[in-house]
């Protein structure tokens, strides 16, 4: 379990980093915390001649309030995300999801950008990004562009980024008013990838109807999933008339590519997924309700 030899690069700027990526092409891989990449290298499941460590680039650091939301640098560690007051104020779903990411040693090294760019459907941050309509700031040798989360996640461990592009930061818009958030996951053990999980945000209006809601699904397809039809069915309804079990069923209804593996068949994942959605919905609604009754 020793990796094959590679050259290590630690560029100081985004421009240097993308120039390296462009120059080295397929022989290079971005190293952004290494909590997935390094084990794969050590097991020789993959090999790269060059690793470009982006964690020392100043532009990729820090958490800033921006346009009522929060912008998180791609190299910000999970541990920082989980303890940031700015994140907790603007995107509580991320704060709630963070303790479920691996173990604390992993959260001390792993980065938000690394997790999102790795695009594992069983990971917590990609689903949160999708649910919260986060936007991805991306750099390439020819300039910058921004993608929505929906555009960003294209397939299993695959994003819309080109090989010479890198993720610089992610912006999460804030939810205002009477909003509530909850994350529910079921895994074999604490810290394992979830068998299924749900990240729910809900905003109630002054009459306790659902003003808007968002459901991010974990480990229920090749990408993080978002059951938009289910969300649409719930908006406008009095929250007291919504059976959480129905929310779970609705959320599972549109899923077409639930995976089967050693930890669970597709049918079982749907059963667990529906329960996680129902439980997260219940807690998110309770959280929203504490924001001041109508």
């Amino acid at each position: 379990m020793k990796p094959a030899a590679f050259d290590y690069h630690a560029p100081g700027t985004v421009e240097e980093a993308v120039a390296l990526l462009a120059e080295l092409g397929d022989d290079a891989k971005v190293l952004a915390g290494g909590q997935s990449l390094i084990p794969m290298l050590a097991l020789r499941l993959t090999a790269f001649d060059h690793l470009v460590d982006v964690c020392r680039i100043p532009e990729l650091q820090g958490v800033q309030q921006r346009d009522g939301g929060v912008r998180i640098g791609a190299a910000v560690r999970h541990a920082q995300v989980g303890t940031s007051p700015e994140v907790a104020a603007a995107a509580p779903l991320l704060t709630l999801a963070t303790p479920l990411v691996g173990h604390f040693q992993i959260r001390n090294r792993g980065t938000l950008g690394g997790a999102i760019a790795h695009a594992d459907p069983a990971a917590e941050y990609p689903a949160a990004a999708l649910a919260l309509d986060a936007t991805m700031d991306i750099a390439s040798p020819t300039g910058r562009r921004t993608l929505t989360a929906q555009e960003f996640f294209t397939d299993l461990w695959t994003t819309a980024m080109e090989p010479d592009e890198m993720l610089v930061g992610v912006t999460f818009p804030a939810w205002g008013g009477r909003s509530g958030f909850a994350v529910e996951e079921f895994a074999r053990r604490h810290g394992d990838y979830a068998i299924a999980g749900a990240e729910v945000a809900v905003e109630l209006d002054e009459t306790d109807r659902v003003r808007r809601c968002a459901i991010g699904l974990v480990a229920l397809g090749p990408t993080p999933e978002r059951p938009r039809e289910a969300e649409a069915e719930l908006v406008g309804r009095p929250v007291s008339e919504i059976d959480p079990a129905e929310v779970g069923r609705l959320a599972m209804a549109g899923l077409t590519a639930v995976t089967s593996d050693g930890n669970g068949s597709a049918d079982y994942r749907r059963r667990v997924g529906a329960a996680m959605v129902a439980r997260a919905w219940t807690r998110a609604v309770a959280d929203a309700s504490t924001e001041g009754a109508a």
Binding site: M1, A4, A5, R44, R188, R189, G191, G262, R271, V272
Partner: protein, 785 residues
Amino acid sequence: MTAAATGDGRVEAGGATRYAGTRIGRVEDPRLLTGRGTYVDDIRLPGMLHAVFVRSPVARGRILGIDASAALALPGVRHVFTAADLNPDVREQWHTSVGPKSPETPRPPLADTDVRFVGDPVALVLADDRYLAEDAAELVEVDYEQLPAVVDYTRAAQAQELVHEAHGSNVVGQLAGRPAATLADVFAGAAHVVTDTIHQQAHTAVPMEGRGMVVDYSASTGELTIHAATQAPHEIRLFCSRLLGLPEHRIRVLMRDTGGGFGQKVMVQRDEMALMLVARRAGAPVKWVEDRRENLLAAGMSRHEHADVSMAFDPDGLILAASIDFVSDCGAYPTPWPVGTSAAVGMLFPGPYRVPAASFTATTVYTNTAGRVAYRGPWQFETLAREVLLDNAAREMGMDPAELRRRNLLRTDELPFANPNGMTYDRITPLETFEQALEMLDYDAFRAEQARAREAGRYLGVGMSTYVEPSTPGYGSYATEAATIRIEPSGKVNVYIAGGSTGNSIETTVVQLTADVLGVAIEDVATIQGDTAVTGFGAGTAGSRSGSMTAGAVRDTATILRERMIAIAAHKLEAAPEDIELVRSRASVRGVPGASVTVAELAATAYFDPYSLPPGVPAGLEASARYTAETRSVWVNAAHVCTCEVDPVTGGVTLLRYIVSEDCGPMINPSVVEGQIAGGTVQGIGGALLEHLAYDEDGNPTATTFVDYLLPTATDVPVIEYGHIETMSGGPGGYKGVGEGGAIGAPPAVVNAVADALAPFGARITRLPLTPESLAALVPPEALR
């Protein structure tokens, strides 16, 4: 008798001072807890090369050719050895505890013509560092003709393909007790008969440190030094001397710290043989450290088995007969010959119950998977099968499972008791430990809580198990254990035992026991273990024998020195020997204040002033003795009680409380005893819920990292609560073995708790592990409101 703890941890009771029985802090802890243990990978010798195995990627196949030229061309790569290079050097190949005449599976150190499991060692690469060696291993081209593999052990006996063609069958062996047909009338006439087929999945020891070895041969002296991760340094030396034809006394095996063994490191396996064989050919010391992937691929598999089990009961629930037909998967290269251990499953199936009649068969089969190796309580399946069956019987009979056990458990007034397979139990307390565990839980209160929870839609359960196991084998190479004790000229004491720290705290208990017998302060005692150059032969850590056997060796050796010290002190103090007492490194005349001499003064006399010694007392204070076990085994028993909550939607299990009441006799160190119980229990919980060394239908292992091989973590295990009953064994100090029991008792307690929780759904659990999906499948969606 009243006892009071003193500042240094001794117990002063009735005027005597003892360290045994107290929670002395572990001698091992300062170095282990600060990360300064010395494991194989910490050994660094000048010029040392690093070994990596090329392993078979196919489960069954023929080796058509091996081309190592690309690997050898890589700078820094020194050797690539294959079977043709190494295997002809083998002289003899047998394990001491098994003997030369056992019908063993032929074990080529490196695969010669055939590979028989994924991970089978095919070639050994030596390079300047481990990275280079792994690079080179990838460049060794092995041409395989892949053949259909025997993977499903339940069909192996009928398979066309043979794992070992020369053996002529995939059945390794079969043993049987009383024929089942002779019990047919008992079963036919019984008020209740319960029958199940119970399956256990492959899982294994998974020590924190994998196997590993540094071999260092000196051509100029003809001496071979081996640093090994092992439970039995002397066995490595003996085995190696036979393997290489080197005289035993030219080999020295050293082990300071070993990061767990649990049975996996009792016996030399093929990979380690290959290391021994390269020692004389490498021209430099060679290190091999098994990484996690290799450990899960090739260090061995355990527990993969099933049985058809039945019990007959009278109308009151008293057991009339028990029957087990047991089949176990032994993989391609079991170590050792597995037939004997499989018979133990049959012999022990009646357990600590009043079972008047029993039958068994035990069948072992080869498959193209990792070989079966010992794992903490190797016959553990007897307890799993019996205790799960008893709970199913209780449910079928409408009887409380605690009451069913209570009616059948042996009482101390019935001992000794010969079980129907001829195992005679004595000095055990099955009923007492069981009642203690239930009382610690407050069983009735839990049942009431369970009923309230069910009304609220929550599913709690309680499971229990009891077992009796033979510890401390007293036959063959296991029958003796030696100690050498030197009270040095300064009065400081060194105890030399074969021992070796694999996590069983034998350094601590040896120091405690020695200080007690010699009457010296514990800080004056140190121990040197795990070095064959300075310790007498010992069979190592196996069969829950270290504490109880070493206690005998220490007692017999220290008694010699104690008598000698008393003789010298009596002579010096002009008192009668019977009036001398030894307390905290000082010999005093009882009842005469001020008449005393220190152990250091006694030692100085013994070494430096030999003409002042009393007549007949030899110079020096050094002694060696070898203790011989008085019985073939020392019985030890325990009861486990576990409670849990099961989420009926996800099938997730949360363990709530875990209680163990055990009787290992007097405890040398309760913290060590509880540590042993905890470790075994956690492994048993892992086996019941998580761990699975799985293969696909082609024989490819699917759990080769800790992403897929799931070990229990701190968050999966509740605080374990301990109850102790102390019944003296017939051996030294009354001590019994406690190393394995936790792993035996835990799996059925967990299974029974989960089954109890899901009883409202009519669930019956007969297959491990209890994955969430398998449990959820017991609860149909329509049952969930």
